[in-house]
Symmetry: C2
Subunit: 346 residues, 2 copies
């Protein structure tokens, strides 16, 4: 198989799912000793809040390399390339964590990365991407189409594009989060994952349904960024304007083509959370669990914290997907969304 064809194998396949437990296990082998096996955090306070017999397992991907689960998928996709492809360099477009992850993954493989980032991406994420050696090209996310810009950039410079989610090896890499969690804590009844483009959800659902066939998996979106919820309701991919939400990692306009193929079959539903609830979740994780979690990283947990009794007596996995938030932004968010405002945390 030529290099071009292998890239195609990662990105093609609309209407045909090329993701299964074996592909995730292959990713896990590639990531062994490269990605961190992130800790699973538990809290008796939290279990008690949900009710007798509940066990909540927080998979803390804020401790992943480059600060988020995105490293897993990016590294797996770069690892799947051959030497000639890596020599050409990687192109990616991302609001942040995928940018950092592709930069680091490229560097670890002796390749290079060029990243298209929105001008209003958080400063900490821009700085971190540069720190890993990525070259950044800025665009305006509210007026320009990043996919067209990115494909144009890749074509002009001869780069290999690695999208943030619409790629089977990226999805397989993200699936290793759920694989590790289940290997560590055993059977789950419920898994909550944040949904942005849908790569983490697709990888997680593939693993969960294979290993815990009775378990339910719910994707969680910010209320303002409910493109997957709307798409589920309509049965096809729906476009929304760029959502204004504090969850900068979840500001997508539409589900991925390939991820939607997986998620529409495997997810048991989508839960929506408000920005206030996301801030409440960040506050709880900071003060009670001593964890720094960024807004999109806290949204799955926000769905649990909003109605904890709903999960009573169950074994619940929750993915805290990343921790890349600077202190100034964190404190500004906590100030704008004080405790007790809006729908309160318990």
């Amino acid at each position: 198989m030529t290099g071009e064809k292998r890239v195609a194998a990662g990105m093609a396949g609309e209407g045909k799912v090329m993701l299964d437990l074996d592909r995730v296990r292959l990713a896990a082998r590639r990531l062994d000793r490269v990605a961190h096996k992130t800790p699973v955090v538990t809290s008796r306070t939290l279990d008690g809040l949900c009710g007798a017999g509940t066990r909540v397992y927080l998979k803390a991907e804020c401790f992943q390399r480059a600060g988020a689960f995105k490293f897993r998928g990016a590294y797996n996709a770069v690892a799947a390339l051959d030497a000639a492809q890596r020599a050409r360099g990687i192109a990616a477009w991302s609001s942040g964590n995928h940018a950092q992850s592709v930069s680091l993954a490229a560097k670890l493989h002796g390749s290079s990365a060029t990243i298209l980032m929105p001008k209003d991406a958080p400063a900490a994420k821009v700085a971190a991407t540069r720190g890993y050696g990525g070259e950044i090209v800025f665009y305006d996310r509210y007026t320009e189409d990043r996919e067209i810009l990115a494909r144009d950039l890749a074509a002009r410079r001869g780069l290999i594009p690695i999208p943030a989610y619409d790629h089977w090896d990226v999805m397989a890499g993200q699936g290793t989060v759920a694989l590790e969690l289940i290997e560590e804590v055993g059977q789950l009844d419920i898994l909550l994952v944040q949904v942005s483009g849908g790569g983490l959800a697709a990888g997680s659902a593939t693993v969960l349904k294979a290993l815990c066939p009775e378990a339910k998996i719910y994707g969680v979106e910010p209320e303002a960024g409910n493109d997957t919820a709307l798409s589920f309701a309509k049965g096809e991919r729906v476009n929304i304007p760029v959502p204004h939400t504090i969850a900068d990692g979840q500001q997508v306009e539409t589900p991925g083509k390939l991820t939607f193929e997986v998620n529409k079959r495997l997810l048991d539903g989508i839960l929506l959370v408000s920005d206030q609830e996301i801030a409440n979740a960040m506050r709880f994780l900071f003060e009670r669990c001593k964890l720094v979690v960024e807004p999109s990283g806290a949204s799955a947990f926000a769905a649990l914290l909003r109605e904890p009794k709903r999960f009573a007596g169950r074994r619940v996995g929750v993915t805290l997907s990343g921790g890349n938030v600077g202190i100034e932004r964190f404190c500004d968010l906590m100030n704008r969304f004080p405790p007790g405002a809006g729908r309160a945390a318990p």
Copy 2:
């Protein structure tokens, strides 16, 4: 041995050290499945900052029950009591973490706790102590002598006093932090621990010198709270006014009687850090390591971050002793001590 004598055995022994590796191992057995085995956090960025070949191991006691290492010593001391003593109830005096820990330890043993706390103790610590069922009696730390008040309270109510550090079983419990760290990562060259009353330092030094005889251990104090540094220089315990420092867990006026007996023999020196350096350390731990660490919990790390090259090529353990800081206080501290002010972090 009667109950009274066993309490005496924990608190007596000035001039005679009743702490060794066996006493720490006994504490570890009591704490097994009760205390958390806290994770050891590593960071390639941090290792690189120190120089080639350096390995820094952060023992994250912010994830300990009740949010700090103090739970270990308090639980071990309560576990050493007999049923009749526990029935009388426990008395303790503390600026915060020991208060929470004694309350929780008493509750877990079916006992009760009465805690003398300074009026200006952080609100989060007061609330947490109450949350664990402790009864609080307030005093003014700048005008009243808490030891006299506490002993008076204990005598009037017939309670068993458990001091925050001057007690062999408390020190033995704190020593389990170093024991776990060395059991997990192997031999260390250097261990950095914060020094307040000296219980964590005494327990840690006892373990380190037994298991890694060549290793050095340094205690770290805030510049304003340099009572142990002054005491080391003079060769006897020195009293200072209540120090004004952001490290509320290190606002002691003099080293403990018993802890000083241990520390003057086993510590290789005391390092001092400024409040700005402590804030820099909290910032680094938040943004780079995604950890919430309170000021006194970050002071040992501040000593490393101040002069990272000093530790080049070594295997360095650093105890992050606790994470009990509310978001409002955390953000206020970060605002008062912005990055780049004072002696900068690298």
